[in-house]
Amino acid sequence: MGVWKRNLKLILHNPMGMFGVATLSTFALLAIFAPLIMPYDPMKCQYIDGELARLQPPSMHFLLGTTHFGRDVLSQVIIGSRVALIVGSLAAIFLTFIGTNIGLVAGYCGGRVDSLLMRLTDIAFGIPFIPFAFLLIALVGPSIWNIIIVISFLMWRTTARVIRSQVLSLKERPFITAAKVSGASHLRIMYVHILPNVLPMSFLYIALGIAWSTLSEASLSFLGIGDPRMISWGQMLYYAFITGSARTAWWYVLPPGICIALFVISAFMVGQAYEEVVNPRLRKRNS
């Protein structure tokens, strides 16, 4: 589709967008080729001369040092990109999917359905995310899938509101009346006529969703309810903090920390760049 190509071009034209796309793709490559790049098995405890290599500072042996339990930080950071990527992208897609549909239905149907769904959104806004996610994870058990589900289950709210307001203005546009006049059904109007017009906004929320859900995953992991079978950056920080290593072992804190920040900021930047494409009022005026 021409429009998408054009949007992508516009994003890449923006230095922020380009930076974001470049960093995200680097992380994606890291995640895909992690087994080839990692110097060690990130789960295996490393020994030097039969001694557990506990909290070793960076050296030729361990480029980014080792953890409290003697594992290679670099390998963990590399494999951690997988969780970030999986949680980030899947949760973002799910939450956007839910939010877009709710916004679409609420905005289009209006009336009682709208106020019902919007009250639901209000409630979702009223719930403090981290504590509630903490509770839900306690309910379903910590695993990466549950984290994804919980994040998307709670974070659709912003998307729904934005999409709804878009739909509200779109449905007043004459082309919707034109579709009605030609006999299109409500469903057809919603999904064929309106949806393509809000999709760019949805895509923006995927970009932002990546940032939010990565942050959320890190936060939940930091509270100690991350998936214990996988290594994520937030979990590394949790271990660094809870074992007291965070005090001195900067090599244990900074790499995962910088990775989180970099990953999130890249997603934000893509979002920022994309927002200027999607929201014409933000673009520099042309005439």
């Binding site: 789960m43 295996k44 405890c45 557990l52 506990r54 909290l55 409290h68 339990f69 003697g70 549909n101 239905v105 289009y108 149907c109 209006g110 009336g111 009682r112 359905v113 769904l117 306690a138 058990g141 910590p142 695993s143 409500h186 469903l187 919603m190 100690g224 309810i225 214990p228 079978r229 271990y239 809870i242 074992t243 007291g244 290593s245 005090r247």
Partner: protein
């Protein structure tokens, strides 16, 4: 109206689509032989997670896949204890609280068939012979004979591989050696826990600070000794209230508020109250007070004073100093469980509680100024900040300190920092070896490492395949790298467990003939092979 239907239509449609997609994604059942997949449960703490990370690696070499679920202690109770345990393996670390030094505690709680229903025997282990042994030892008042019975019980556990013990990790704490001398480490309590606090009785101030500050992560939960729910608060309460017996620094039972006890017959015990004890308010401790305490406990049936006390039929005053207990049945750990844990409360304060303070149950009374007869007296409690204990110089133990400040510091980091900056003298919580090494480097700090009768173990479920299979359990024992785990998780600070819940140094109760099983994957493979297990093309272990 019509739009309302659309909404539900859309919701329904998406529901179907989702269900359909999920159905496609869901893995279809494996064909052919069924591979062994173990469901395991562990607490969401770094240590158990660490154990399973290492263990899963080793089990993978055996072709065993592990599905681990982590949860809170509440989930452990809710899903595993109170309901049918749905996991093959459950990891748990049992802390070394004082009553667990009593040798029958772990054995009974873990393996007695009466503890299956809603009890701690969630491995569903049943052995008639073991049950019978446990029953006999409880009535056996002769220590030597009782030891024999308990050794036999441990042999049965070992033979059946009823559980997989891993290690007993040390307890490490630290103190400022420039300011304090003569600390007395005790098993399971080290120097800072209030469980068995000989340091607070015998250690001396060195220099100006006569009221040392102890840092702890936990705060006092309540000053009502009957409402105290967890071990720490109970310990603190027993600094303020005197118990009848105590354990000495070698964990031997010694007289305390009771000068002596005499087992008259299987169901009769006499105790003689120590002379000249006074409550903090100056009133004398009388035998009346002692009897009142027991009557009060039996009347209100406090949850924390459980079945053991209900075995007492009645208590009677023999003379001004002697109290006679009549038991319903012989009870070997009478001193260890009852005399050690019961404290004397002043009758003149408690006799009208709860009615005089308008609550239904004495547990609901805050008891703002606890008056006991113990070596320390509570003078101030600022919640979540600190509490201040003043030494009771009239107490027979005559503490050398003038008092104690317990500072509540919410993080390990904070506690360590306070010790480093000499803002506190005693580290009253658990340290790990790495932190301990750092503290040891400072000239004015000394760390103390004491063995702990706590135990970290994995419980196989006898009601599920394959953990119900004796050969599988035997093989599993060889797949646990106990030494390795202790090295990784606790820097080797501790003792590798023998195949019994009782720590080897808990003599004479621990059976020295029960071996510690060495890590040997080859042996494990061999046992599995002999038992008919096979491996499929992907190297997965399959049921015979």
């Amino acid at each position: 109206m019509r739009k309302g239907t659309i909404f539900f239509g859309v919701a329904l449609a998406w529901g179907f689509i989702l269900a359909f997609v999920l159905g496609l994604v869901m893995p279809t059942a494996a064909q052919g032989k069924e591979p062994v997949v173990l469901k395991a449960w562990a607490l969401t703490y770094p240590e158990p997670v660490e154990i399973w990370r290492v263990l899963s690696d080793d089990l993978r070499e055996l072709g065993i896949q592990v599905k681990l679920r982590n949860g809170s202690i509440g989930e452990w109770v809710g899903d595993i204890i109170r309901k049918e345990n749905p996991y093959h393996l459950v990891t748990m670390t049992w802390s070394g609280s004082p009553e667990r030094i009593e040798p029958s505690w772990f054995l009974t709680e873990f393996f007695h068939s009466s503890r299956i229903e809603r009890g701690r025997n969630y491995g569903n282990y049943v052995s008639k012979k073991f049950d019978a042994l446990m029953k006999t030892q409880l009535r056996e008042m002769d220590p030597e004979k009782r030891k024999q019975l308990l050794w036999k019980a441990q042999e049965i556990i070992n033979r059946d591989n009823a559980f997989f013990p891993i290690y007993h990790h040390d307890m490490i704490q630290a103190y400022n050696c420039d300011r304090i001398e003569g600390v007395i480490p005790t098993m399971g309590s080290c120097i800072g826990w209030p469980y068995n606090p000989w340091t607070f009785f015998r250690a001396r101030p060195k220099g100006k600070i006569r009221e040392p500050r102890v840092v702890n992560r936990k705060d006092l939960m309540s000053t009502n000794p009957f409402a105290a729910q967890e071990a720490q608060t109970m310990g603190w309460m027993r600094l303020i209230y005197d118990t009848f017996a105590k354990r000495d620094k070698d964990s031997k039972l010694i007289p305390w508020a009771a000068e002596s006890w005499n087992i008259v017959d299987d169901t009769t015990v006499d105790i003689v109250l120590r002379d000249g004890m006074r409550f903090h308010d100056g009133k004398l401790v009388t035998v009346e007070d002692a009897k009142f305490t027991f009557d009060y406990i039996m009347k209100w049936k406090f949850p924390m004073f459980s079945a053991d006390w209900r075995n007492i039929e009645h208590v009677e005053i023999r003379d001004g100093r002697t109290l006679r207990f009549k038991l319903k049945s012989p009870y070997a750990p009478f001193v260890a469980n009852i005399l050690l844990n019961t404290f004397i409360i002043p009758k003149h304060i408690w006799k009208d509680i709860p009615s005089s303070v308008g609550v239904a149950n004495p547990m609901d009374w805050p008891n703002p100024t606890p008056i006991g007869s113990g070596p320390y007296q509570l003078v101030e409690w600022k919640k979540k900040e600190y509490f201040h204990l003043k030494a009771n110089k009239n107490h027979f133990i005559k503490p050398n300190f003038d008092g104690l400040y317990y500072l509540v510091v919410p993080t390990t980091e904070g506690m360590i920092a306070m010790l480093e900056k000499q803002q506190a003298e005693i580290y009253g919580f658990a340290l790990d070896a790495v932190q301990a090494n750092k503290l040891d480097a400072l000239p004015y700090l000394k760390t103390v490492r004491v063995p702990n009768h706590s135990i970290t173990e994995i419980r196989p479920n006898f009601k599920m395949r394959p953990t119900s299979d004796p050969s599988f359990r035997r093989a599993f024992q060889y797949a646990i790298n106990r030494k390795g785990l202790l090295d990784i998780v606790y820097q080797g600070q501790g003792v590798v467990a023998h195949n019994t819940p009782i720590i080897p140094i808990n003599k004479p109760w621990s059976n020295p003939n029960v071996p510690s099983i060495k890590f040997d994957l080859g042996k494990a493979t061999q046992i599995l092979k002999e038992a008919g297990y096979t491996w499929d093309s992907k190297g997965r272990l399959c049921y015979p």
